[in-house]
């Protein structure tokens, strides 16, 4: 049992997303940093898709109502279990009555992250709806009662108790293992999208060359960016059509919006590009007020990047399982 002690109302239960539901007009949801969620789960020996708590506002506190193995990934929040400092990207065993506190995320060199993931042994035990345990905020279903967590909420882990999965080790964060920056600014690879050719040459060049600020009007639904205004050579009028997380739309003002995990499944603004699936976690971690750059990519680049991400996860899982087996052997 995990009791939410914080009053901040934006933490949600998320897994890797409600994939395959767009056909019913249901958005994807899921972790803004799916790599951190999957890594936390594999530290615990969970399925990569097990549900965890995504924390975007700090400080955040929970109290454990039973012994439980947990893993913390994502932003480094100077976490403490009662008074004991915890390392980031680490698996630990919490005891009944202990309080976990997450502070304001710290920057590590060029890498600034904004969301922490609290993964629990077996995953957060909430019912799957349309194949996912993610919170679908717009539709008010999935996750914990279809809403963000509130003070006093109590969640259960599917595999409480300790001593099963081993603890006291961690992973090198993928932001360090697979860094991507341009002139010291975090970068994401982007595929030009259907209306890319409608924009003036100067605007297209400015899109790739400029820094884009993540404005305060950014959340799980979408990131509104500020930078050089993007101009279409001719006005583009479109009917609403299907869109996915990562799509970069340009409303009439010329300031782009990147659709994120809670994006609605359709929209009518012209699409300049799409942040590739393998880099959405980088954008999902970029804090409000920070700046990002975009790198033009090809379809093959995007597939290679996805392959690299899966290879990192597979390698991490192999090493964690090897370590766990070795420890079990030396303990017996």
């Amino acid at each position: 049992m995990i009791e939410i002690l914080s009053a901040s109302a934006l933490a949600t239960v998320q897994d890797l997303g409600r994939v395959g539901a767009l056909q019913w007009g249901v958005g994807t949801s899921g972790a803004m940093d799916p790599l951190a969620l999957a890594a936390g789960n594999l530290l615990l020996g969970n399925d990569a898709n097990a549900a965890a708590i995504e924390v975007p506002v700090f400080p955040f506190q929970v109290r454990f109502g039973a012994d439980l193995a947990i893993a913390l990934t994502g932003a480094d929040c100077a976490a403490r279990l009662d008074d004991v400092p915890l390392l980031p990207w680490w698996v630990v065993e919490a005891r009944v009555g202990q309080v976990l506190s997450l502070g304001v995320p710290r920057a590590a060199g060029h890498w600034r992250a904004s969301r922490a993931y609290l993964c629990v042994a077996g995953g957060v035990d909430v019912p799957a709806v349309l194949g996912s345990r993610s919170t679908q905020l717009r539709g008010a279903f999935g996750g914990h009662e279809g809403r963000a967590l509130r003070q006093g909420d109590v969640l259960c882990a599917a595999a409480p108790g300790i001593g099963r999965c081993g603890s006291g080790f961690g992973l090198l964060p993928p932001a360090l293992a697979m860094p991507l920056q341009l002139d010291g600014v975090p970068a994401m690879r982007v595929l030009p999208a259907a209306e890319y050719g409608h924009y003036t040459e100067a605007s297209r060049a400015a899109f790739w060359a400029g820094e884009w600020k993540i404005t305060a009007q950014s959340d799980r639904y979408g990131y509104r960016l500020a930078g050089a205004a993007l101009e279409a050579a001719n006005p583009v009028e479109m009917r609403s059509h299907g869109i996915v997380p990562g799509v970069i739309q340009v409303p009439p003002g010329g300031q782009p919006i990147v659709q994120m995990r809670d994006a609605q499944p359709s929209g009518g603004y012209p699409k300049l590009g799409t942040v590739i699936e393998a880099d959405l976690w980088r954008l999902g971690q970029a804090p409000i007020g920070s700046r990002v750059r975009f790198i033009e990519a090809t379809w093959d680049d995007a597939l290679d990047a996805r392959e690299q991400m899966h290879a990192w996860l597979a390698d991490a899982r192999r090493l964690v399982e090897l370590h766990r087996r070795q420890r079990a052997r030396s303990a017996s």
Binding site: D76, L87, W89, A108, F169, L172, P173, L176, A316, H323
Partner: protein, 136 residues
């Protein structure tokens, strides 16, 4: 273990630039040192990753695995246990990075951290002394 196997493994080892090979299985431990001298095997006391006594009554925390020694977490600017820190038994003094995996280097006993035997970021072998501790 079948002695023929040991000879085979030794022959393989002699053809590499690996200095030390250790194999562990249920109830057995085989340690082969490749010093260019070829066969036969040399019997010697097994030094393992348990704390080693160092001059002056201090002890060292040793690498329990091959890896890269990290005195600080890669996301952090300060060391896990800077020199002069008083630590309790089991407290992490540093980390060993094995690919994506980070393993703690735990204090074998309570004490004060008095020095590093290798620098942050050094690749180390199994059993390498890494951090010196003066008992309290």
């Amino acid at each position: 273990m079948n002695p023929d196997r040991i000879e085979t493994i030794s022959a393989w080892l002699a053809a590499t630039d690996i200095g030390l090979l250790e194999l562990r299985g249920p109830g057995t431990r085989l340690r082969l040192r490749n010093d260019g001298g070829g066969l036969p095997l040399r019997g010697e006391p097994i030094a393992d990753a348990s704390p080693a006594a160092a001059p002056g009554g201090s002890v060292t925390a040793n690498a329990a695995s091959v890896g890269v020694f990290l005195h600080r977490h890669p996301l952090r600017e300060t060391a896990l246990a800077p020199i002069g820190t008083r630590v309790v038994a089991g407290q992490p003094l540093g980390l060993l990075q094995v690919g994506a995996l980070l393993l703690p280097l735990c204090a074998p006993r309570a004490g004060t951290v008095t020095g590093l035997r290798v620098a942050h970021g050094t690749a180390v072998g199994y059993g390498t002394p890494l951090v010196e501790l003066a008992p309290l």
